[in-house]
């Protein structure tokens, strides 16, 4: 593994993303939709509302915020391999000494960094607005410690899962849009577990959040290995799988 090669790919990807108007537009608009809707819901709740109703409303809003790290990465990750092939850059790229694990890890980091930044940014904008503008009971529910820990820990882990799903689709699909759509759909189950917490189907606690995070981390690492196996230079270049001689 070469950190130099990984750094080169990450730097190139971030430069390329920054100048891709479609991606920048999507990254700017989509998260705002997920921010505005829960804010409107929670800011309208009066202080006299029963706690159970407030918890349910906060649970729904938190779930929407978990959707951000699940839907943003696939939009970018879907470009990672098939996008290179579409613009004719894949072949020169693959004829360099880069190894597939380096390539995939670098692509994943390049997607993860802006995705996690946007997801955290949206969450903190949401939480701070609630803190200063919502009823006290609503603010207390949003800033409930297990809720905050779950949000902080699960956001990057869901994003990493979504990144690998997006890259896996990008490695196998023949069209960027198909890869984006399939990857977004396939990323959503990851937020199922967080839904159980936010709706208090599973009683939330810091210990539970950490335990589930460890499980998700193991899944993320296995996803990297799985996607590495999917990556076949010959198939990417010629469209047919390499056969042993």
């Amino acid at each position: 593994m070469s950190g130099e090669r990984i750094r080169a790919v990450v730097q190139k990807e971030l430069r390329d993303f920054r100048r891709n108007r479609f991606l920048v537009g999507t990254m700017a608009v989509l998260p705002l939709i997920f921010l505005v809707s829960p804010l409107i819901t929670l800011l309208q709740i009066p202080a006299t509302t029963p706690v159970s109703v407030i918890r349910h409303a906060v649970g729904g809003s938190s779930l929407l915020l978990f959707v951000v790290p699940a839907v943003i990465p696939p939009i970018m990750a879907a470009y990672s391999v098939i996008g290179e092939r579409d613009q004719g850059t894949l072949e020169p790229f693959l004829t360099t000494p880069i190894q597939r694990e380096e390539l995939l890890l670098a692509k994943a980091i390049a997607v993860f960094l802006p995705s996690a930044t946007v997801a955290y940014g949206i969450y903190f904008a949401f939480a701070l607005t609630i803190r200063f503008a919502a009823a006290h009971a609503v603010s207390a529910a949003v800033w409930h410690t297990p809720q905050v820990v779950a949000q902080l820990v699960f956001t990057p882990l869901i994003a990493i899962w979504a990144v690998w799903v997006g890259i896996a689709m990008s490695v196998r699909a023949r069209d960027v849009r198909v890869a984006q759509q399939l990857a977004t759909l396939a990323s959503l189950p990851a937020i199922g577990i967080t839904a159980l917490i936010t709706f208090r189907v599973i009683t939330p606690s810091v210990r539970l959040a950490v335990a589930l995070a460890v499980v998700l981390l193991v899944i993320d690492i296995r996803a990297w290995r799985f996607v590495s196996k999917l990556f076949d230079r010959e198939r990417l270049v010629t469209g047919s799988r390499a056969k042993p001689s």
Binding site: E4, A8, R19, T89, P92, T96, R233, E234, V237, S240
Partner: protein, 313 residues
């Protein structure tokens, strides 16, 4: 040229399912040689380059590239020593010329930042270093791709149809750059179906049509395929051409080919021509021209490829 080949290929074969793309191809390329790999569309040229560039694996056969046997275990080391310029430049259009080269320099772990300006200078692009590649013409993009291929100072440089789609001026510029590579001692493996390009640039050529049809210097290929002939043109038809050509030293046959035009088969044109000229003068002929018939690489190519077309019918 050095004795150790830069590239040795033995019985290389590639099948895609039931289709044979490259069949039992063997050749060597000497270090510092500009080697032309010619063939019609679908002949297997790009497949061969992809195999030698470790992008796809051969079905059978072996190769040694820049001193390393072609194998999955050597893939990274081989790619570190070679450079491949595919038919399409494959540049990141939203990045500048320098950013594109910085990216590839990072992939080759090149720490000497002077390499990028040097590569740009080699292709005459210093003034466009800060331009976005999306704003460059196709010819300039090819130049950037060539600069990219020079970054790692490759032992073998594979150029796959480098002038495809370029206008004559841009093509000439690329030819000039390849000449420059030859002067620098870079081993160049050039695939093309532009025969005049191969004839002008290459030390040796191989003609591929799934199998290797022939290989050698263009002069040798001409000699191998075509009998040597003198073309004789006189103002008026000779009264008795047989008495002029028959039995002349070095002349093996002759035929009239129009009024006052004769094709004289010879063993060695330089030895036979003076005697033929003297015989023509002695016969009172007014000689308009007397020259060796030259066959171009295109003639060689068409002769070989048309044999394949005939065989396929």
């Amino acid at each position: 040229m050095q004795a150790t080949p830069a590239l040795t290929v033995e019985h290389l074969t590639k099948r895609f399912g039931g289709r044979v793309a490259v069949d039992d191809v063997s050749f060597t390329v000497a270090a510092g040689e500009v080697f032309g790999f010619l063939g019609p569309n679908g002949a297997g040229k790009t497949t061969t380059v992809r195999m030698l560039g470790t992008l796809i694996s051969p079905t059978s056969g072996s190769a040694v590239i820049a001193g390393l046997p072609l194998s999955p275990a050597n893939g990274v080391a081989i790619r570190q020593r070679i450079a491949v310029m595919p038919e399409a430049p494959g540049l990141y259009l939203r990045l500048t010329v320098t950013e594109n080269l910085e990216f590839f320099a990072g992939l080759y772990r090149i720490r000497d930042r002077g390499r990028i300006p040097a590569a740009l200078e080699a292709v005459g692009l210093q003034a466009r270093a800060a331009d976005l590649c999306g704003n460059l013409s196709k010819g300039l993009c090819q130049r950037v791709a060539l600069a990219r291929a020079l970054l790692n100072d490759p032992a073998v440089l594979f150029l796959d149809e480098p002038t495809s789609g370029l206008d004559p001026v841009a093509s000439r510029e690329v030819h000039g750059l390849i000449d420059g590579l030859r002067e620098r001692g870079v081993t160049v493996f050039l695939t093309t179906h532009r025969l005049e390009e191969a004839e002008r640039l290459c030390d040796r050529v191989a003609i591929l049509n799934t199998t290797l049809r022939t290989i050698g210097r263009t002069d040798d290929l001409r000699d191998r395929l075509f009998r040597k002939r003198l073309l004789v043109e006189t103002r008026a038809p000779l009264a008795d051409p047989g008495s002029v050509f028959d039995g002349r030293p070095g002349v093996t046959g002759w035929e009239a080919n129009g009024s006052g035009v004769y094709e004289v088969a010879v063993a060695d044109a330089k030895l036979a021509a003076p005697g033929v000229a003297r015989a023509l003068v002695a016969a009172g002929a007014d000689i308009l021209s007397l020259a060796e018939q030259r066959h171009s690489l295109e003639d060689v190519y068409l002769e070989l490829i048309s044999e394949d077309v005939e065989a396929a019918r």
